[in-house]
């Protein structure tokens, strides 16, 4: 569970977060969900990794990428893990 290379910081019932989840699952990407509090002031963990307190945020250890904003994240996931670019398909067998 803590071995997933991708960590998703999310908020329960946040549609932007769900959108990212949908994309992750569409591509069969293994990830760990870290749920944070609704209050921005309670989101120090998110701020620490991404510099902002907004969610969703993903941290991808495969590529060293940390990213906010669901639009950006979905595009990133498509470009990195989409079927036409099987670059980092090895999320299980990786180095």
């Amino acid at each position: 569970m803590s071995e997933s290379a991708i960590t998703l910081y999310r908020l329960q019932a946040c549609p932007f977060c769900e959108r990212v989840v949908t994309t992750l699952e569409e591509y069969g990407i293994d990830y760990e969900s870290r749920f944070v509090e609704p209050l921005h002031s309670k989101r120090d963990a998110v701020k620490r990794v991404s510099g902002t307190r907004t969610v969703p945020v993903i941290v991808d250890e495969h590529t060293g990428v940390t990213m906010s904003e669901s639009d950006n994240i979905v595009t990133y996931l498509e470009n990195t893990y989409g079927e036409e670019t099987p670059v980092a398909a090895g999320h299980e067998g990786g180095s």
Binding site: M1, S2, F35, V36, R43
Partner: protein, 174 residues
């Protein structure tokens, strides 16, 4: 506890005992900043697993204050709690009881499935439909082998802290 009258006795529990393997489970595990689905078996042994009444009930506060004050957070062990409270309530509880620095984390099990699995489920009188684990502590070695177990026989009853501390210290040194 001597109150001068009999407290409520509970049915004998059927929980995992010393030498047995404790049931594994996965639930949201809450720290001071977020929660993440975590398997009991994924925690670094030895593990001190503390079942406590729902957050906000006074025994929960007493139990965690005691473990905090005894310095369980400084031991080379994984100390985790479990109650039926939500992750949101656990977050408040960690904050309200100054547990942030201890490293204690709390599993959330609102449907009390883990309590049933451990044979320690308790239907609360006067709270219709609410089941929670009775107070219980387990010290688990590698592979979830039970080194020490204590389960409440009365309502209310508090863990035998000295025995727990000895068992956990011994597990750390083993």
């Amino acid at each position: 506890m001597d109150l001068g009258f009999d407290v409520v006795e509970l049915e004998p529990p059927e929980h995992p005992t010393e030498g047995a393997q404790a049931p594994d489970f996965t639930r949201p595990l809450v720290n001071s900043e977020y929660w993440v689905d975590t398997a009991l078996s994924a925690l670094a042994p030895p593990v001190c697993l503390v079942f406590h009444p729902m957050d906000g009930a006074f025994p929960a506060t007493y139990m965690w204050s005691e473990l905090r004050d005894r310095g369980f957070g400084g031991l080379d062990a994984t100390v985790v709690g479990l109650s039926i409270s939500t992750p949101y309530a656990h977050t408040r509880f960690i904050e309200d009881n100054d547990l942030e620095e201890t490293g204690f984390r709390l599993f959330s099990d609102p449907a009390a499935g883990v309590a049933r699995e451990y044979g320690i489920a308790h239907d609360l009188g006067g709270m219709a439909g609410v089941t929670e684990p009775r107070p219980a502590v387990f010290v688990l070695d590698a592979d979830l082998t039970v080194r020490h177990a204590w389960v409440a026989r009365e309502h209310p009853e508090f863990p035998e802290y000295d025995a727990l501390e000895s068992a956990l210290t011994a597990a750390v040194e083993a």
